[in-house]
Amino acid sequence: MSSSVKMEDFSLRSSSLRIGERVIRGTLFAASAFSVLITIGIVWSLLAPALEFFRQVPVMDFLTGTRWAPRFKPASFGVVPLIVGTLWTTAIALIVAVPFGLGSAMYLSEYASDKTRRRLKPVVELLAGIPTVVYGFFAIEFVTRVVLKDWMGLDVGTFSVLSAGLVMGVMIIPTVASLSEDALSAVPLAMRQGSFALGANKMQTTLRVVFPAAFSGIAAAVVLGISRAVGETMIVALAAGNKPNISSNPLEGAQTMTGFIANAALGDSRVGSLEYDTLFAVGLLLFMSTLIINFISIRLVRRYREAY
């Protein structure tokens, strides 16, 4: 045994709590346990109507059907077109968000001085603070109408997956940048110094030492960006249109899962009707997809936190 006693061996906390303190502690615990109730509530609110839906539409027909026409007669409930729409907007958003987000993160973490970083970071984060409905307006009025149609001469209609995806990508830049920067900054200085000492320059160090070391954190940032893109509603509801579309042309409009929910919510379908339940079946699918994506991201973050 060493003679020095470690601080952690003592506890300055009282061994038994007073009654009043116990009540306060219990209240605080209740507040945090409330968050679990929210998750249970989400599942409950989605599951009941969704089960009602699946009583009438077989799950496999829903998941593999390629025609989404819940308001038509005969109605068809194949969700694949909505998934395709979601994948399109998400993929385009990532093409924008990953390089620009990662580039910004590398600059802020590896090149910028403390002062520069403190000034630039809030500006990048402003992009995350802009309301998505304003992004949606910008996507239709500027990106689709002016940039894609007038400047680039592309054959786009009012609604296009490309425009919605591009703008959504910019919205996600801060998500990717901020988390990636955390991961890059968490890489110990000694690793950079070792690299410099061996004669590597800053670019080589950033790309071959810091980047691989921070990889799981950067992956977590990208995965969280995917989750944001899948769940984003207002941009796609405004700019991507509301026509389910399974085509492979990003210049056309398409409906995403969230776009369908937003659009169907505008209509006045009766509570308890199949049309109403459809909303919740799609909602459940959306919840399950983002849940899986979020857990992957949380796992990846833990991995890099443990490493350093």
Binding site: F29, G231, T290
Partner: protein, 294 residues
């Protein structure tokens, strides 16, 4: 004693080859593109709203004739709904954060579950909070879902995880010595939290809370589910009154056919952006001015 940092192994003089300069240029470019986009968005929106920056935007209700329409009901609705949201989300959020950061034994499974749960909730799509609220209001037997209390509940549930996460971060920044000192002088745990830890964390908590509330002001998706896209021509005058908010009004005007409505949408967007940017400014100011570096 000389530490490695004093030598500055920075590799600066190796920065002269073409590839390195190109790489740095690319990094610059990505930041530049983000800024450029922000500026273009602000400028084009401001220009689109030209012609409608008048008092009638504030004083008139929505109208089928664009020239007579204003955003009064939406502006008041936003203020009302968000105030109620703040009153619901902030106390619960801070309480939950205090428990998790100051009292919870992190080895216990239920505390781990709560932490994991909050991390996931922060990334649940906003629109699903609307569906949850729809379920709660139906359960409570409310016929008309588009009421202030419903909208506030949806937004409060949405920002609660954000409030918890940012408050925890602020509490974590308070050094352990402050707590130890207080406990060693005989303060109880609750006294330590209320008299030492929380006051020390207030600037951080304020910054995080302002940003969370500004998220609620800009959010429209969950409110769409409650049916907030209605024609309202009166001031929201109670918790159970019908309402509309600025983002919802912008959405509805953007989808309208006439160009005059788009002008209104842009003018209201600018108003919303001014409110949000000033809130952001205040948050950053508080962070820089009052946040202690321990």
């Amino acid at each position: 004693m000389t530490t490695a940092t004093n030598w500055s192994i920075e590799g600066k003089n190796h920065e002269r080859n073409f590839k390195s300069i190109m790489f740095l240029g690319l990094l610059w470019l990505s930041l530049f593109v983000a800024f450029l986009f922000l500026i273009i968005l602000l400028v084009t929106t401001a220009m689109n709203g030209m012609g409608r920056y008048d008092m009638r935007l504030f004083t008139d209700y929505n109208n089928t004739t664009p020239a007579d329409a204003g955003a009064r009901a939406a502006i008041l609705g936003s203020l009302f709904v968000v105030t109620v949201t703040a009153f619901m989300a902030i106390p619960i959020g801070i309480a939950a954060a205090v428990y998790l950061e100051e009292f919870a034994d992190r080895t216990k499974w239920y505390n781990k579950l709560i932490e994991l749960n909050i991390q996931n909730l922060a990334a649940v799509p906003a629109i699903l909070y609307g569906m949850l609220t729809l379920g709660i209001l139906t359960l409570l037997g409310l016929k008309n879902k588009n009421v202030v209390i419903g909208g506030s509940l949806a937004l409060a549930l949405l920002i609660l995880p954000v409030v918890i996460l940012t408050t925890r971060e602020a509490l974590r920044a308070v050094p352990q010595e402050i707590r130890d000192g207080s406990l060693a002088l005989g303060a109880t745990e609750v006294q330590t939290v209320t008299k030492q830890t929380l006051p020390a964390a207030i600037p951080g908590i304020a910054t995080g809370t302002i940003l969370a509330v500004s998220r609620a002001i800009g959010e429209a998706a969950p409110l769409l589910l409650l049916g907030a896209l209605v024609f309202i021509t009166y001031d929201p005058n109670g918790l159970f009154a019908g309402f509309t908010t600025m983002p919802i009004q912008i959405f509805s005007w953007t989808s309208a056919a006439q160009d005059e409505f788009k002008q209104l949408a842009a003018a209201t967007s600018m108003l919303l952006l001014v409110i949000l940017l000033s809130m952001n400014g205040v948050a950053i100011f508080i962070r820089n001015k009052f946040a202690k570096r321990w």
